[in-house]
Symmetry: C2
Subunit: 221 residues, 2 copies
């Protein structure tokens, strides 16, 4: 047992690959065991690498944490934007529906991504960089939502659009957290249906049935 463990084989890898691998390892560990599980040793082991290498690619563990958090947040809003951009601008209601619906399907609404978000979120309270990332990604998401709302066929009113965007964003966030942290508490597709009905009610519009989950037992309005 006290025998010298044999040296890990020297494996050279591309710089980008290594950075991504370390970030992905950190995210996985945070998702699985919270931030306290994402130690330098655990991250290195998960990435198939020696702990010392982390400091070669990141000036500190904190810097790796920032990179991972930024990636998590940007990935999620990028996913929603991608779904939205698949719909032509001539149909603003469907664009909004696609944007909203994307938040309640994998890869956005999973226990994993909600877990990562939950693990990192409290770090924004004291770490100024984390707070800045949080604020920037939150506002970017909400601005995008507001622009989709402003494109709806209704009288222009920026103040109202802002309030509606805040409300819709709150509803989306709350349902996303609940669906992700208590996945067994809801029927399949239930959260998505509630989110679409809810945002439609908030905005006084109606979304096409095609964005709702399959077993279409929606009640009439």
């Amino acid at each position: 047992m006290t025998a010298q463990t044999e040296r890990r084989p020297y494996r050279r890898e591309g710089e980008e690959k290594r950075r991504e691998g370390l970030i992905a390892a950190a995210m996985e560990l945070v998702a699985e065991g919270g931030p306290e599980a994402a130690t330098v040793r655990a991250i290195a082991a998960r990435a198939g690498v020696t702990p010392g290498l982390i400091r070669h690619y990141f000036q500190s563990k904190e810097e790796l944490t920032h990179a991972a958090y930024r990636q998590v947040m940007e990935d999620m809003t990028a996913e929603a934007m991608r779904a939205c951009d698949a719909i032509p601008e001539s149909d603003p209601v469907s664009r909004l529906a696609a944007f909203i619906a994307a938040n309640f399907r994998p890869p956005v609404m999973t226990t994993r991504s909600v877990g990562v978000w939950a693990g990192y979120m409290h770090l924004g309270r004291n770490d100024p960089t984390m707070h800045a990332i949080h604020e920037a990604t939150y506002l970017a998401y909400r601005d995008r939502l507001q622009s989709l709302i402003a494109a709806l066929p209704r009288p222009a009113d920026p103040a109202r659009d802002r309030r509606d965007a805040i409300a819709c964003n709150g509803l989306i966030d709350g349902l996303w957290i609940e669906g992700g942290s208590l996945p067994d508490g809801f029927a399949k597709g239930e959260i998505l249906r509630i989110a679409l009905d809810g945002t439609a009610a908030l905005l006084g519009i109606r979304f096409p049935d095609s964005f709702y989950p399959d077993p279409s037992d929606r009640k009439p309005a």
Copy 2:
């Protein structure tokens, strides 16, 4: 510097006082610096006590954490219920409004309480006891909300009430988190107004003006 630090004076205190003091200290530290700041030494120092005493009142630090989390959650729902119970049952709309509004004033919506919630929430992912507390308090809150919704003057429909409760709960949670984590991003009373307007829209009702914040610049429906 290496001089012997003088012994802390022996201060005897009631058992309840000590437990509450330790729980309060843990909550404060989590609110200020996240869970990693709530070490046994820091908690003891904040409570004006020696680290060893924690293990005299709690079998482990984990047990103290559970107690503190339970207290945080129960305090918040109790506050909302208290506000609600101040309104007679003959006015179900106002009772619901009072319940909702209580969530967007101190002591419920403060950076402190949102910070504690954020600091603890991810612990529910691996610790079964924390998960149970999370689920129990969440469901207790939502059930209360659902019963308030069911009391509204409208046709009885339990399935619809459930969906409405989930939606309203999501909106409340989302707005509460955003208002608490980005307190400078919103005007005074803005979140409360959006929450009342939002839940009213979700439920197809209208809340009395008296529950809205003072500078009443509400737009007509």
